[in-house]
């Protein structure tokens, strides 16, 4: 589901004329590997951060998201990495 300009409070301007129109959105570009991108899509679907934050899914390694969720996202990714790591040796 794509967000539209009004949803993200973007009231700046929309380029328009009768003939030529371009859509303009503000946010944050995220670059990551494909596996991590699937994780982001999963978080988005289950609204784990409290709301949907992906503005647009660009390609295999890039996503465009809301600016305000950056911190929580880093925390979530950190938690995922912690869950997947195991202490190597006994002390």
């Amino acid at each position: 589901m794509r967000l539209s300009c009004s949803d993200i409070g973007f009231g700046d301007w929309c380029l328009e004329s009768n003939i030529i129109m371009v859509n303009v959105l503000k946010g944050v570009l995220v670059e990551c590997d494909p596996a991590m991108k699937q994780f982001l899509l999963y978080l988005d679907e289950t609204t784990a951060l409290g709301k949907k934050f992906i503005i647009q899914d660009l390609d295999d390694t890039h996503v465009f998201i809301l600016a305000e969720v950056v911190h929580i996202l880093q925390e979530r990714v950190g938690e995922l990495m912690d869950q997947n790591s195991f202490p190597i040796t006994q002390k």
């Binding site: 503005i55 880093q74 990714v77």
Partner: protein, 446 residues
């Protein structure tokens, strides 16, 4: 989206290149400086300088180019850039209209004096003082030097026993290695952590360069200080330097100064092999490295120096401590904690390599690949997501519109990402205003 500040450690040449030409020329007025700079040159450059030292006329560039074989062109070019960067030579038109090279006359004269003798004596007053009743031998000088330097490092790590003068702590704050907030005691910054893990020669250089930078604000003459430093490494003299451990002065008022090994290595410079035996001694250990790293992530540090133990504890968890050895473990948490403090994986590995025990040095590579790879992977874990703020443009009605806007953004240098197939671009927020104005102008034309 924080940037991690990397500690830049310049060597003598890079620092000199940054000075203005007038200061450089005044610097070259001292034979000691010329000799020190000459010693730092790469071998081919030294050769060139020697060949041109006694020529009074410029030499055609074509002739200089003939001095190397065809396949060493790269070395020749590198040499030329080094010599020009340091303003050791410049081009001059020859009579036939060709371009020639001639050595900087100031540099030339002073290097001749340095090599052949003559000029003012560098070690002034040394003989007139007579034999020293409290003469110190080399060993105790070394010990003194290392002690003083360790006190400085201890102070940075935060050991309560270390105390340094106001001047020195001001200098540390100005160098960005420590930070003080509203009257509290200074505490260390992430650049400070990186500094701690460097080897001693690099630390010395960085510190001295910072001191030189602040010297100008104190009204001390940069040229005097620099030439004094170079003289120091060839003979004697110092006051702030006493505190760094670069010189030993028995009382503040005594007229004798003894340069210590630390000062001599300053002149040898950072570019010299940092594992060479002349500099070899890492503080607090004697002659050799003292850390053994095993493939099970255990670390054994054969030392009882508080400073070294504190440094090892920066990135590992200490398990046991005995009178002569400390056992620690390198874990994901401890490494990530260090990285959160601003240390990079490269620095941790450099620290381990430079202080590796002789037993470790026998194996190749020195550190087990599992350990080096894993430390790097733990660092990369934090970088799995890369964020950049931007403005997304999509739904262009025609390919031509897309290309016009894209090219404009690229021309301004603010294009962050594009996808030609879907006609989508992302522009940085700084460039967005300009691109918007451009687009409005575009449309009003059509």
């Amino acid at each position: 989206m924080k940037l991690r500040v990397q500690l830049q450690c310049k060597n003598l040449h890079e620092y000199l290149k940054e000075l203005s030409p007038e200061i450089l020329d005044r610097l070259y007025n001292h034979p000691a400086t010329c000799l020190a700079v000459y010693r730092e040159l790469p071998p081919l450059a030294k050769n060139y300088v020697m060949r041109m030292l006694f020529l009074d006329q410029p030499l055609p560039q074509a002739a200089v180019a003939l001095w190397v074989k065809k396949d060493s062109e790269k070395d020749h070019d590198q040499c030329v850039s080094v010599l020009s960067g340091l303003r050791l030579w410049h081009s001059q038109q020859l009579q036939g209209g060709l371009q020639g090279n001639i050595l900087n006359p100031v540099f030339k004269d002073n290097l001749r004096i340095a090599l052949l003798g003559g000029g003012k004596s560098w070690a002034d007053q040394g003989d007139s003082l007579g034999p020293d009743r409290h003469a110190r031998d080399v060993e105790s000088l070394d010990k003194y030097a290392l002690e003083r330097w360790e006190v400085v490092l201890h102070f940075m790590v935060g050991c309560p026993s270390a105390a340094v003068s106001q001047d020195l702590s001001q200098l540390l704050i100005q160098a960005g290695l420590m930070r003080t907030e509203a009257g509290d005691a200074p505490c260390i910054t992430s650049a400070g952590f990186q500094f701690l893990l460097l080897d001693t020669a690099s630390q010395l250089w960085y510190f001295t360069l910072q001191y030189l930078n602040t010297a100008q604000t104190r009204g001390m003459d940069l040229v005097e200080i620099l030439s004094f430093l170079f003289q120091l490494s060839f003979s004697t003299l110092g006051r702030h330097l006493r505190e760094f451990g670069l010189v030993f002065q028995r009382k503040r008022k005594s007229r004798r100064y003894y340069p210590t090994r630390l000062a001599i290595t300053l002149s040898a410079g950072v570019s010299a092999n940092s594992s060479s035996t002349a500099m070899g001694a890492t503080p607090g250990t004697g002659d050799s490295g003292f850390i053994v790293v095993e493939t099970n992530y255990r670390l054994y540090a054969y030392t009882n120096s508080e400073l070294q133990i504190a440094l090892v504890a920066l990135f590992s968890e200490c398990l046991y401590r005995f009178p002569n050895v400390v056992v620690a473990q390198v874990t994901r948490e401890s490494v990530q904690q260090a990285i959160a403090n601003g240390i990079t994986a490269q620095q941790i590995l450099h620290f381990l390599r430079t202080r590796a025990h002789p037993v470790m040095l026998k194996q190749n590579p020195v550190l087990p690949p599992t350990i080096t790879d894993q430390i790097r992977l733990w660092e990369l874990e934090r970088d799995r997501l890369q964020f950049s703020e931007g403005v997304l443009y999509n739904q262009f009605l025609s390919q031509a519109d897309f290309e016009v806007l894209r090219d404009r953004a690229q021309g301004l240098g603010c294009l962050v990402w594009q996808n030609v197939a879907h006609r989508v671009i992302v522009v940085s927020p700084q460039g967005h205003g300009e691109v918007k104005r451009f687009w409005k102008r575009q449309k009003s034309h059509t």
